[in-house]
Subunit: 183 residues, 2 copies
DNA sequence: AAGGACATGTAACACGTTACATGATTGA
DNA sequence: TCAATCATGTAACGTGTTACATGTCCTT
């Protein structure tokens, strides 16, 4: 991967003017299911992108003296963003998953222990799925035409929809596989 | 993540004596779908684990003078491995996916471009899925009782089965979502 | 004889997290 | 007034990739 965070930030500030804090907040929303970064990584990257003239900022004052830097994308930044947006993406050879790594070695522990770990993982993923369903419900209230490309919230819809697909299929696999242990 | 590579290596050398090169090769096999590392990360980690007395090695000579270090796990290492194997795993808050990040911003490009990217991604994932099916077929020839916990290849079966589930459901979502663009 | 696999290591750099550090604003 | 949130930054450390560096063995 070559500087994906760069494109994540370009994509966010392309939609609208944003501060480093706003970007950090965005990564705690839906898109955080597929990409995120901490503020300690974001601020230096904003500085770098500014030096590279891909973004620029104006300073805005909230209240008496709280300063924030509102970043927006430059034409050069837009160009690089679009190039990335239309370039085919390689599949990662590895999509890391600690739980699956553990399962690979699970012959070393009693079946009962493994069953408990499956149940724990299923419960956690079901909780997560519930949150995703609620987010989707909220989103549908905002935009009835959600599933149409061109809808204002279509990007949001896609990531939520895929996040739900990802959790549902993982849970289905976990439940199916757990049943192999019960006989 | 706290030193997952440590546990990956402990798990591998617990099954059988192995060299750094062997470990590197393992990460190119099925388990590489869920965890991997390059040799440049593995060799220093082996050194560290040896210093921590979680593994130890003997030197073996192939041919006239090609040396390799065969590592095996110590009792202390086994204990730490088992502790990790039975401990519940937190869900990662983010499972990074460059393609989904791109989709989130795809409103900025024409629908035709997005369709092409979906098709490209579907083709790549289908190719990968074919390889996984073939691996599963080979594995089934080795072990008829594959799906029984306790089968010699059960760990292999689990990771392959989940990798297939992961690809199948991703492809299903991609195809379903692509159809939203066609009308 | 040559190329590919076997075998082990280090160095430099890129990416990511946790901790350190500071201060303002808003609402209960 | 106190806690949560808004707001920005740096330092130290841990993880991961690419490149550098070397040498052997086996098969054709």
């Amino acid at each position: 991967m070559k500087r994906i965070l760069k494109y994540a930030i370009l994509g966010l500030v392309h939609k609208q003017e944003m501060s480093g804090y706003d970007i950090t907040s965005q990564f705690k929303q839906e898109i955080g299911q597929f990409w995120s970064a901490k503020h300690s990584q974001i601020y230096p990257e904003l500085k770098r992108l500014t030096e590279e003239e891909l973004i620029e900022y104006r300073t805005s004052i909230t209240g008496a003296k709280l300063e924030k830097k509102l970043y927006c994308i430059t034409p050069k930044g837009t160009q690089e963003l679009i190039e990335w947006l239309v370039s085919p993406k390689e599949l990662p050879e590895t999509e890391k998953d600690e739980f699956m790594l553990m399962l690979y070695f699970s012959a070393a522990v009693p079946k009962e222990k493994s069953k408990r770990l499956f149940e724990d993982q299923i419960a956690k993923r079901k909780r997560k799925l519930e949150h995703l369903y609620e987010s989707k419900k909220s989103l549908q209230l905002l935009d009835e035409n959600l599933q149409a490309p061109g809808s204002r919230q279509f990007g949001h819809y896609l990531v939520l929809s895929r996040a739900i697909n990802r959790e549902e299929s993982y849970i289905a696999w976990l439940e199916e596989t757990l049943s192999l242990f019960e006989e």
